[in-house]
């Protein structure tokens, strides 16, 4: 009976704290797709399409760095930089109400570094991409310090794949690969994120890595990734479907399958996209799965807008020859329902094309 009760309590606590991770080792959206409301089935492009819908993959070379910042960066960054200069200020920071308010709620910071190359080989495009991902996450309430959630993970992986046209209108693509990932906080453990009691001074110390120099040794969980996609173009209308499989999603400890379908229409001045993401997920509501995107291309400048699970998104990309700089404002939804647990984020992206 006790066991049954324990299983029930664990199940309840898992239900209550089951975050809907929007990116995990082997799966992330480049800035353009984040700016376009998270759409990717008919809007992914270039080498990055190998990650999302390989049918849209095109030949070319790319090195890219994405920095993902939470909206509280403007408040906490200057204060943390002061703390780094003068560690004695930790007490002052712990009583700084502006800082305390800014760190409350759900926040995440991340960096993605990736690059690769693709070329035309007979009638197909073939290529590969390698990526390094990392993210820090916390969910904190000052009224519940004993149930703070925090975590950090990192991973690296490689994918090879290609795309080809089966008919004049139908294009298909596939990419596959694998990598290693690991949870850095709580160091070396399998549950993510960790639940901390910040009122206990030893709690934080118990989840941090013993030796930061050995961080790569924590990335010891292998995973396999497969992406399959198809796109059908009829004049200016595109209809697509994409499937992502991850054999071991580090953050959930399970396999991940993401099936998404989308449609887009190119008005020349403006491209419109509508998509239903993660159709197989029975926890997410219809509104949560809905993404809308807008894109306008002026050559040297690209403008993006969209709606991701009801949240407005937007961004712009400066397209200087060989070099791109992009800025995006978007929201990550951690809940299976639209509009309940959004984290407002800003992304900066720098890329070199060759």
């Amino acid at each position: 009976m006790r066991r049954l009760l324990l299983v029930f309590l664990i199940a309840v606590s898992l239900t209550v704290f089951s975050y809907q991770w929007e990116s995990f080792p082997g799966f992330f959206k480049p800035m353009k797709n984040l700016a376009m409301g998270g759409t990717y089935v008919t809007t992914a492009e270039g080498l990055e399409a190998l990650l999302l819908n390989p049918a849209l993959f095109e030949a070319g070379g790319l090195i890219n760095l994405d920095l993902s910042l939470s909206s509280n960066v403007a408040v906490i960054a200057p204060k943390l930089s002061e703390l780094l200069k003068n560690p004695d200020k930790i007490t002052e920071l712990a009583t700084d109400s502006q800082f305390l308010k800014a760190i409350q709620g759900v926040h995440s910071y991340g960096a993605n570094l990736y690059g690769g190359y693709g070329a035309k080989l007979l009638w197909a495009n073939v290529g590969g991409i390698g990526a390094f991902q990392s993210e820090v996450f916390w969910d904190l309430s000052l009224m519940n310090l004993d149930k703070t959630e925090a975590g950090a993970w990192a991973g690296y992986f490689g994918l090879i794949g290609g795309s080809l046209s089966l008919t004049r209108d139908l294009r298909v693509g596939v990419s596959a690969g694998g990598g290693m990932a690991g949870i850095l906080i709580p160091a070396g453990r399998t549950e993510y994120p960790a639940t901390l009691d910040l009122t206990d001074p030893n709690s934080l110390g118990s989840i941090l890595p013993d030796d930061p120099a050995k961080i790569f040794s924590y990335m010891n969980t292998p995973f396999f990734v497969l992406n399959v996609g198809a796109i059908y173009k009829w004049n200016d209308l595109s209809i697509g479907v994409a499937f992502h499989y991850n054999s071991n999603n580090l953050l959930t400890g399970q396999t991940s399958q993401i099936l998404s379908a989308g449609v887009s229409y190119d008005l020349k001045v403006l491209k419109l996209a509508f998509e239903l993401e993660d159709l197989l997920n029975r926890e997410k509501s219809f509104y949560r799965k809905t993404n809308l995107g807008l894109e306008s291309d002026f050559g040297f400048l690209k403008l993006y807008g969209g709606l991701h699970a009801g949240w407005l998104t937007g961004g712009l990309k400066l397209n200087i020859p060989f070099f791109n700089v992009a800025f995006v404002a978007h929201v990550v939804e951690f809940s299976p329902r639209a509009g309940l647990m959004g984290e407002q984020k800003y992304n900066l992206s720098f890329s070199v094309k060759f």
Partner: protein, 313 residues
Amino acid sequence: MRLRKKLLTLWPVILVLMLLSSCVFNLFSNFELRELLSTGTTEQKIESAQSALSGGNYDAAIALTASIINQELGLNLKVEDLEKLLDSTPTVYQLVQALQDATPTENLIEATKILVKAVAHKTKKDVASLSEGAHELLQEIGVLSTYSRTTFEGNSNFWEEFETSAGTIVALLSKFFDGRNSLKILVGGYRFIAVNTNEDRDFSASLCAFYDVCYMLNLMLDLNNDGNITDEQFVRGVVNDPDSIVDLSKETMSGLYNDPFACDEFLWACEVLEDMFSILNIESDVPIVDSTTLSQKQKMYDVFIIFFGSDGL
């Protein structure tokens, strides 16, 4: 030329989208909330309310937890009432009354915990805001130094500083006394948690006692019964001229005068305060008064006399 025209047309659209995305505005949340309130299970509502609290969607968290309490206690509240809980005085009082008499269940306790946190955040009465208020207050009386103020030097300046800063102190504190409905929920909710749980009992009891005193002052100072006190002549008078507090209290009518409902609520708050003092092991000496006596005291000064005695003023 066409490119220029395109740019001019689309720039504002994208810019507006980016600015709106910075405002963290969700177009679907109302549909989602309505669906959850109408058809969601208790587990779904608790999970969603917890998510909404973490995500800063306090309105959704309040509506969802109120819906759970409504469901568990059979209150028959409408979805529309739950969506605008803090604006509906009868619903707030019905809910708190039901909570007071309720047999505690796990769902009820969990929902109440989320509800009080969401209400405190929404009305800026949460721990961070309280600590900010306390920090500003301590700075104002010179206990904490800032760049803009001279450093506090010894105890000799304390009362001098206190007296000169009393107006600002009242102004800082009075914002916590605003919002009668939210204070009622905070008092009733934290009382329910403190009485029925062992986890963080002292913390819940302390918060309950603080909000309870705020609620009592709200009842006493709010003459126009709009739920707020910062608009009252008495408070503005004290802020502008702190020395006149006694004279003003002799001139100003009590919020409890000829208001049996406010008097009953005041006495309920006194009982809650006694309960919390007992949990916190604080010996209390809250004067015993009845509703009729309170409602007959015309001036605020007369009520102060009952509770603080003539020596305290």
